[in-house]
């Protein structure tokens, strides 16, 4: 057993020490967390809240607790993911910097993508800014005419000496209006098939010619933005990955986006814990705690929550044992996309009609309705359930690829034809 329980392992000894030091530092330097951590929405992220969180990030950075597992040469600390896990574990009781969805796009998606594909010169210049809280990164990814078909991006980057001129429109860019930079997918060659003419750039959100507008959503927040690029100038040194090889960068990003990059993903949960408190009190308020159907619904939600967590840990472990298979990442995403709306619906059924009305601005009472609306995004955002099913079937189960009508033809020809379909009079 000695070799298996890991305690005799030298690097794990290091983790225990590290954990102790981290705990001591956290206790003296960060305020304890009051109540459960709840991801702030775009409305919560006021300029004051953003500034306070940036200050917290800077504090972590200065104390050496930012970029724990990122490479040393770019300002990280080059430690193992076990060290990072230990720190996050200890930090869960404290108020950590939280930029809402931008925390994930920056630290779990965009920067890991940059670390995989970016040039050393760029990374040396850029990563320290991220670590100190001065560069929060969003994704300029989807476009009005290409959502699921990401390789069909039409935002145009045209070379002009040492720089590029960007023109086009992006959409669904989460919290772009609060970000400092965006990672932008562009088309740099129109005469080749769609996957072969793509290139990524890092673009400052305050670049002249870039207009970012929040979009009002069904839940009345504005987390998504639409972004207009009018002759935005980007130096070639801010290119991420090789020219026209942006599809490889995209693949990395998609895998990370589906949850594979989450720093706590591989830690298996110890147990299901208490039943979801908000649902139990919903049932209580409705006088339905003794109702067999309600009890079934409560247990269903509680079971599915735990199954989702053990599945996430299992998939992360499979990734750790093998390669980061994009099909694998789709399992976690499809689980979330399938069961989030079901969970929201079960909550409504537990609470019944009265749970969907409330007095004035009672946010707590409005939570069921809000969760019900929010539940719609999980099956679309970050790749629809259908795209995940294709991913699982084709990449994990070995089913033949979808026949494609555009993948082998020059992209400009495809666009021309789409605008002038054959057979149209």
């Amino acid at each position: 057993m000695g070799a298996l329980d890991g305690r005799s392992d030298a690097s794990s000894d290091g983790v225990d020490d590290y954990r102790r030091r981290a705990r001591a530092w956290l206790t003296t330097n960060l305020p304890p967390l009051e109540g459960a951590a709840q991801r702030p929405t775009s409305e919560d992220l006021t300029p004051e809240v953003m500034a306070a969180n940036r200050a917290l990030q800077r504090k972590l950075f200065e104390a050496g607790y930012a970029g724990i597992s990122w490479p040393k040469e770019y300002g990280g600390h080059g430690l193992s993911s076990a060290h990072e896990g230990a720190f996050l574990d200890e930090a869960s009781a404290f108020a950590m910097p939280d930029f809402g969805a931008l925390s994930a796009t920056t630290f779990d998606i965009c920067v890991p993508t940059m670390l995989t594909h970016g040039a050393p010169e760029f990374l040396r210049r850029f990563i320290p800014k991220v670590l100190s809280g001065d560069a929060l990164v969003c994704q300029f990814f989807s476009e009005p005419s290409s959502g699921s078909d990401l390789a069909g991006a039409r935002t145009r980057a045209t070379r002009d000496g040492d720089q590029w001129i960007l023109n086009g429109q992006k959409v669904w860019s989460t919290l772009a209006h609060l970000a400092d930079w965006g990672l932008c997918l562009t088309r740099t060659d129109w005469d080749v098939p769609k996957h072969r003419g793509l290139t990524w750039f890092a673009v400052p959100c305050d670049a002249p010619g870039l207009t970012i507008r929040p979009i009002r959503q069904i839940n009345e927040t504005a987390e998504f933005c639409e972004d207009f690029f009018d002759d935005v100038v980007v130096p070639d040194t801010d290119r991420i990955g090789a020219l026209n090889e942006g599809w490889a960068v995209t693949q990395t990003m998609l895998v990370l986006e589906r949850g594979a990059g989450r720093r706590d993903a591989a830690i298996p949960p110890s147990g299901p814990g208490p039943m979801p408190e908000e649902l139990v009190s919903l049932a209580q308020r409705a006088g339905r705690l003794a109702d067999p159907l309600t009890r079934q619904r409560l247990a269903r939600v509680h079971t599915t929550d735990f199954v989702g967590r053990v599945l996430t840990a299992r998939i992360a472990e499979m990734g750790r044992l093998g390669e980061l298979n994009p099909g694998l990442a789709s399992y976690v995403k499809l689980f979330r996309g399938t069961y989030t709306p079901i969970r929201a619906r079960l909550a409504v059924e537990i609470g019944g009609g009265p749970a969907m009305i409330w007095e004035g601005g009672d946010a707590k009472r409005a939570a069921t309705s809000l969760a019900y609306l929010n539940g719609r995004s999980a099956s679309i955002a970050g790749g629809t359930n259908e795209m995940q099913r294709n991913g699982i079937a084709e990449r994990a189960l070995g089913m033949p690829r979808e026949p494609s009508f555009d993948a082998h033809r020059p992209f400009n020809e495809v666009v021309r034809e789409a605008q002038n379909p054959k057979g149209t009079p």
């Binding site: 298996p268 039943m275 199954v307 399992y331 399938t338 070995g398 089913m399």
Partner: protein
């Protein structure tokens, strides 16, 4: 379903699967559906030689296992058994053996335990009052009668009931549970072999009509039984869930392969999104089932405080999704899956029956609510 096995466990898995392939492959199982026992001659003794019934028993009581993790080893074997729909008592033998070993057996019970480990005799569990409110049993009561006890009531669904020489009976006595080890040839006790949905397993209905049993047949201390019974239920659920996972895994793989081979409209049917997406959904349910089943096995092995809850989650999840997957596989095979010669119905039968044994999904969900004081 485990992602990593120790070399000992890998060896156990290989020897189990080799034994099954040699002694009782699916074609043999199929050939035995009309037989009385459903088990090939000499199968139990040979399985006992591989240690199948000794896993939950400490070495000093005549048992032993490969990895020191008896529950994980048993789950590994159960999964392999599920892959080829093995007949005969496995869950029941291990549950009874675990119960006897944990209850401080009398001398006679210890001798029986050793015989169970050697596969010389067969015992099964009559959950009786442990799952009485699941509707699987009418409930059994034990009443003191002089120095003896009298058992009355009925158990409508007893797995391996027709194969057993001995029954471990969980009965209600006042507010408490108590357990008895009873020979099937006891007066007043009737074991009626039942025809059943799962033609690769054998079930019985057992009736106790004022069955008089001596004090010596009491298993464990009176009053201290509830914890042991809970453990039996956990073990039964976790092993039957592992068996279902094995069956689901093979059934899904058969279907996945068929979708790449079968062509229609000039393409493999697996290239159509309507088929592809069904496969992806099934694969997701199966992967999630493996994840929760492994969590349950580990929780039972470690005797975690919330093991009962995790087990019920696994039993409920795999019970429901197993049937969904079997239906999805039917849909992809089309008409051929509806024929007797195709193995699909054998898997459907086993998966469905396992979902109903030891508490169906609804019952486990209700149990979860109660565990949370609701």
């Amino acid at each position: 379903m485990e992602l990593t096995l120790t070399s000992d466990q890998e060896l156990l898995r290989e020897s189990t699967s080799r034994f099954i392939a040699g002694r009782c492959p699916l074609t043999t199982v199929r050939g035995l559906v009309d037989s009385h026992t459903g088990v090939p001659e000499g199968y139990l003794r040979a399985a006992a030689d591989l240690g199948w019934f000794a896993l939950m028993v400490p070495e000093e009581q005549g048992g032993g296992n490969v990895s020191g993790d008896g529950v994980r080893d048993a789950a590994l074997i159960a999964e392999e058994r599920g892959r080829a729909l093995q007949p005969g008592p496995f869950v029941s033998m291990n549950v009874v053996a675990a119960a006897l070993a944990a209850s401080g057996p009398t001398e006679a019970q210890a001798a029986l335990l050793a015989a169970l480990c050697r596969g010389e005799t067969v015992a099964t569990w009559v959950p009786g009052d442990a799952t009485a409110d699941a509707g699987a049993d009418g409930g059994i009561t034990a009443t003191p009668a002089g120095r003896d006890f009298e058992l009355s009531g009925q158990a409508d669904l007893v797995q391996d009931g027709t194969l057993a020489d001995w029954l471990l009976v969980t009965a209600g006595s006042g507010d408490d549970l108590c357990q008895f080890l009873v020979r099937v040839v006891t007066p007043g006790l009737s074991v009626v072999p039942m025809s059943g949905h799962d033609i690769t397993q054998r079930f019985a209905a057992v009736t106790f009509d004022r069955v008089r049993v001596p004090t010596g047949s009491v298993v464990g201390e009176r009053g201290g039984c509830r914890r042991v019974v809970e453990r039996q239920l956990q073990l039964a659920c976790v092993l039957s869930t592992a068996e279902t996972i094995g069956a689901m895994d093979v059934l899904f793989e058969m279907t996945r392969a068929y979708a790449t081979e079968r062509t229609a409209f000039g393409r493999a049917i697996g290239s159509f999104q309507a088929v592809k997406h069904q496969l992806a959904d099934m694969s997701l349910s199966l992967e999630a089932g493996k994840a929760i089943a492994v969590a349950a096995v580990r929780a039972v092995q470690a005797e975690q405080h919330d093991a009962g809850e995790i087990v019920s989650m696994a039993k409920a999840w795999v019970g429901d999704t197993g049937i969904d997957i079997a239906q999805g596989c039917f849909q992809i095979f089309g008409g051929i899956g509806y024929t007797w010669e195709h193995d699909l119905h054998l898997f459907l039968r086993r998966i469905t029956m396992n979902s109903l044994l030891f508490g169906q999904p609804d019952w486990h969900r209700e149990r979860i609510c109660r565990m949370h004081g609701l």
